[in-house]
């Protein structure tokens, strides 16, 4: 290889780096970093760029469980009675979110000038596992360039992988590709929910919502058995493998979320959402005990309030669309229950 050849090679690499960085920064400036290959459950692009006339009252972060289980329209209908005014609840969920991803969503959408009065944070034993089964995906899809050094530091000792840490630096290209590929199949529905119902799977009180909820649950009747056959056999080995909380990225970001909210005067409600009896039976007893020891203690130490709704009365079959996601009637009931927790924080 000649010197000239070396120079050309480095020039190509240099231009490639410039191209990736410029595309990433451009994508981020437009809010397109939220646009992923799987946009469901929340159109975070639509939510993130929306300008509201007044601050959000309640923000919700979590995974598909809070997406199904907490309906912003039901919470607002309930809070309107206790607060004596119209309130705004917004739910921003991420596919298979650990507390790492939830914190990054809250940091961008529910802090600073966009801070809500109250923040509902979904927790589950698997979402705090330092070896979370989707931690690489959480990093690759949700982290920003500023999270890279922390990620690399964590990757030296364990998950996530180094390749996942690099994705946020170069993700702009894929974000833009997915943006130009729109509309994805679920796009219109989730955008409608983001604009008119504050996100979430189910809506109540708006025209057509009841029929839409019923239609969805009816068409997904087979989901219960499908997930018993396909998901439950993997829960122990996949979601609870090498279970530990302390020291992992999810736990670290859970504490960061609590501390930031406390500093900003946001009331944090940490909610252990319910799962059905058949799902709970797959959660290792030791892991669940560690979770129930660590979360309430840590939440209280950092100024939040913990509420455990994963109790037998919430685990009955007819509230669920599948073993760990509530159906419309379950969502309505759970939203009313969470509203009762929020009443003191939203006046």
């Amino acid at each position: 290889m000649t010197d000239e050849g070396d120079r050309r090679g480095f020039a190509v690499l240099g231009w490639l780096v410039v191209f990736l960085l410029v595309t990433g920064l451009f994508s981020r400036a437009l809010g397109l970093h939220w646009v992923q290959e799987v946009e469901w459950p929340t159109d975070l692009y639509a939510l993130g760029r929306l300008e509201r006339p007044s601050p959000v009252d309640v923000g919700i972060v979590g995974s598909s469980r809070s997406h199904y289980g907490l309906a912003p329209t039901a919470i607002d209908a309930c809070l309107a009675r206790t607060a004596g005014r119209v309130t705004t609840t917004v739910s921003a969920n991420r596919l298979a979110a650990s507390l790492y991803a939830s914190d990054l969503v809250a940091r961008e959408l529910f802090s600073g000038e966009r801070k809500p009065r109250a923040l509902v944070v979904e927790v589950a034993p698997e979402s705090l596992n330092a070896n979370h089964f989707e931690l690489d995906y959480n990093v690759a899809s949700t982290a920003g360039p500023s999270d890279t050094f922390e990620c690399i530091g964590a990757a030296v000792a364990g998950p996530p992988s180094l390749s996942a840490c690099a994705r946020p630096l170069v993700r702009g290209v894929e974000n833009i590709a997915f943006w130009l590929h729109r509309p994805l199949t679920e796009h219109r529905h989730i955008t409608w929910m983001a604009l008119y119902a504050g996100g979430g799977q189910y809506c109540f009180g708006l025209p057509g919502c009841d029929a839409r909820n019923a239609d969805y649950d009816l068409r997904h009747q087979g989901r219960w058995q499908t997930r018993i056959d396909r998901v439950l056999p993997k829960v122990r080995t996949e979601r609870f493998i090498d279970y530990e909380i302390d020291g992992g990225l999810p736990a670290r970001h859970f504490v960061a979320l609590l501390d930031r909210a406390k500093a900003e005067g946001v009331a944090v409600h940490v909610v252990n959402l319910p799962v059905s009896e058949v799902y709970q039976a797959e959660v290792p007893v030791e892991a669940y005990a560690e979770f129930l020891r660590w979360v309430p203690e840590t939440t209280a130490a950092h100024g939040g309030a913990f509420v455990d709704l994963n109790v037998p009365e919430w685990r009955v079959r007819d509230r669920y669309i599948d073993p760990d996601h509530l159906n419309a009637s379950g969502a309505r009931a759970l939203s009313a229950r969470v509203c009762a927790e929020l009443a003191g924080s939203v006046r």
């Binding site: 006339p53 130009l180 529905h189 409608w192 008119y196 708006l206 909820n213 997930r227």
Partner: protein, 54 residues
Amino acid sequence: MLLIFVAGLAITGVTAERERAKNQAAYDAFRQTGVTPPAPKAISGATLTVQERL
């Protein structure tokens, strides 16, 4: 090459801004009137492989 790159970014910027403005107008109209357009059918849109990750 550079031209294609810049053109690609420009198309992205224009479409993103158009969608943002469309969403904002729809939201503002909803705030003023309380009326929503008909809700699109709620589909999961996710393949079974994706559903297993939820």
